[in-house]
């Protein structure tokens, strides 16, 4: 029993980071689900995180009440980014969003009144693990509702073939803009949760590391269903910790190795709805025409 308590104490914080990273992965997934690879989540997280943190610091309201403001800030920024960036073609869009990550750091360093500049910002407020888990469950439910709504079919169509989607009356740019707003809201909330989990925001808190973690999580878990983002975030966050306990020697390379193995053997990620559907119809697999 005591061992269990020790275990819980040791890994509680890991679970907290799983939730935070799941928010970032869901944010990346939201854009990717319409075929747009974007690292801009880092900027949404920074904006949402600092706005939310300042709101709590200035007014003293409950941090959980400031979350909607963080989400709105992220969504608003994402809308603006979408208007500017979505006119770019695929890989240019990704590069532009990476540039935005670099700009974010410079802005954070220089907007000292909002961010504390080089000194960083102390956020002495706590959020319970239970609250974090409940928030993630709410976000997952929202993604589930989106996926079964009209938006679910439209986003998949736009991702697979925007030209054909347009010829059926969908407006790819509009669907992607909606995706960006969702990505921004989830990213902004994630940024605020990161602030509450770390209780301190440094100028480097919102930087390339988040971009890397969220994309790796989505690749690992699978980018064709929101469940993949959550699974990926859990695996990617927990793996180094677990490896440290079991085989300390390979702790540092565990995530890299896991990513490589996934990309080589299950390139569509751990959770792939298409593979599941194919397994349901094994007989039909033999068919498929000259182009299949």
């Amino acid at each position: 029993m005591e061992a269990l308590a020790d275990f819980w104490a040791a890994y509680q914080s890991t679970l907290g980071f799983v939730v935070v990273n799941a928010f970032f992965a869901l944010s990346a997934y939201a854009a990717l689900s319409t075929g747009v690879l974007s690292f801009a989540t880092v900027a949404y997280a920074a904006f949402g995180g600092f706005i939310g943190a300042q709101l709590v610091l200035q007014t003293g309201i409950d941090p959980l009440l400031a979350l909607p403001a963080a989400g709105l800030a992220g969504a608003g920024l994402a809308y603006a980014v979408g208007l500017l960036f979505l006119r770019l073609e695929g890989h240019w869009m990704a590069l532009a969003s990476l540039a935005l990550v670099l700009i974010t750091r410079v802005v954070v360093l220089n907007a000292a009144t909002l961010t504390g500049g080089v000194n960083g910002l102390s956020v002495p407020y706590e959020v319970s693990l239970g609250a974090l888990v409940v928030l993630l469950l709410i976000a997952m439910f929202a993604f589930h509702r989106l996926s079964v709504s009209w938006y679910g079919i439209a986003s998949r169509a736009v991702r697979e073939d925007p030209a054909v989607a347009a010829s059926l009356g969908m407006v790819p740019r509009r669907v992607q803009t909606i995706a960006f707003v969702i990505s921004g809201a989830v990213g902004g909330i994630g940024g605020m949760l990161l602030a509450l989990t770390l209780q301190f925001l440094a100028p480097d808190t919102f930087f390339i590391n988040i971009a890397f973690t969220m994309i790796a999580a989505v690749v690992l878990g699978g980018s064709y269903h929101w469940v993949g983002a959550v699974i990926g975030a859990a695996v990617f966050t927990a793996l180094p910790v677990v490896m440290q306990a079991l085989v300390p020697a390979i702790q540092d390379v565990a995530n890299g190795a896991a990513l490589l193995l996934i990309m080589i053997f299950v390139p569509r990620g751990l959770f792939d709805p298409r593979a599941l559907a194919l397994r349901r119809t094994p007989v039909a697999k033999a068919a498929g025409g000259p182009h299949a």
Binding site: A142, R145, L146, S149, W150, Y151, I153, A154, R156, A157, E160, D161, A163, V164, A165, A166, S167, L168, G169, M170, V171, I178, Y224, P273, R274, A277, L278, R280, T281, A284, K285, A287, G288, G289, P290, H291, A292
Partner: protein, 269 residues
């Protein structure tokens, strides 16, 4: 004398041109598609048939000329607005959405008639639910119509080529178009399957739909097309009834080359 009442044209192309680099894919082309007819679009490979379909459906923008749907110019509209105006198409090399079931493909085709806002659909409001059930039922009816209702819940990419073409037709019909553009709907199908597509096209026409289909099979064109337009080198060669077009010497020449007699006549003349 018989006075024929001029039928209304649903689609009118006049002087349409499109070049890629220095190559004119379509030039100065006129085409009339009477309302409620099946128009066959013929021509050798590379004649510009698919370019023409791309221009009408808004995938390409014409460099010159006008395209009228009824009286509305549509040559400048993006493809989603052309779809909303009532023109929907299929593709020469099937372009279904990967990872979607057959039913989902057709529901994607019903997008324009979803009848509910994103917000209502997200919240699962009763009205949105009813709308979704309604489109799902309609999608199943369409699959019944093209004869693949039993495959509704499998991934479309696992179907045979011929079946995938039928899914595409059902998807296009989901938008309830006024004008349906079929780009080689029977390619890769056997005679029996092709015949079924021809009959489906007739059923759709009898239900009020106007159809333009790119088709190479001369027998099929004769049997199922009310009008035929033959293009070659991006120009309209001849337009009229199937028999008239197929017998036309220019068409014969485009398809089979110049006959020996013609060569001799030319040499002598």
């Amino acid at each position: 004398m018989l006075e024929t009442v001029p039928r209304q044209n649903l689609l009118t192309l006049s002087g349409v041109g499109k070049s890629f680099g220095g190559v004119a894919a379509v030039s100065d082309l006129d085409l009339c598609v009477p309302t409620g007819s099946v128009t066959g679009l013929m021509g050798p490979n590379g004649a510009g048939k698919t370019t023409l379909i791309n221009l009408i459906s808004g995938m390409f923008r014409a460099d010159r000329g006008t395209i009228l749907l009824d009286a509305m110019p549509i040559q400048h509209l993006p493809s989603h607005e052309i779809a909303a105006a009532g023109i929907v198409r299929t593709y020469q090399n099937v372009r279904l959405f990967s990872g979607m079931t057959v039913l989902e493909q057709v529901m994607a085709g019903c997008f324009l008639r979803r009848g509910t806002s994103l917000f209502a659909s997200f919240l699962g409001l009763p009205k949105a639910r009813a709308a979704k059930l309604r489109t799902e039922a309609e999608a199943r009816v369409l699959l019944e119509r093209v004869g693949i209702a039993d495959r509704a819940d499998v991934l479309a990419e696992t179907l045979s080529y011929g079946e995938q073409r039928r899914v595409e037709i059902a998807r296009a019909l989901g938008a309830r178009p006024r004008l349906l553009l079929l780009d080689e709907p029977t390619a890769g199908m056997n005679a029996q399957e092709s015949e079924r597509i021809g009959q489906l096209v007739h059923e759709l026409r009898d239900a009020g739909l106007t159809v333009v289909m790119v088709e190479h099979n001369v027998r099929l064109v004769k049997d199922f097309c009310d009008n035929v337009a033959v293009v070659n080198f991006g120009r309209m060669l001849v337009q009229g009834t199937a028999a008239h077009c197929i017998a036309h010497p220019d068409v014969q020449e485009a398809y089979f080359g110049r006959s020996r007699d013609a060569e001799r006549v030319k040499a002598v003349g």
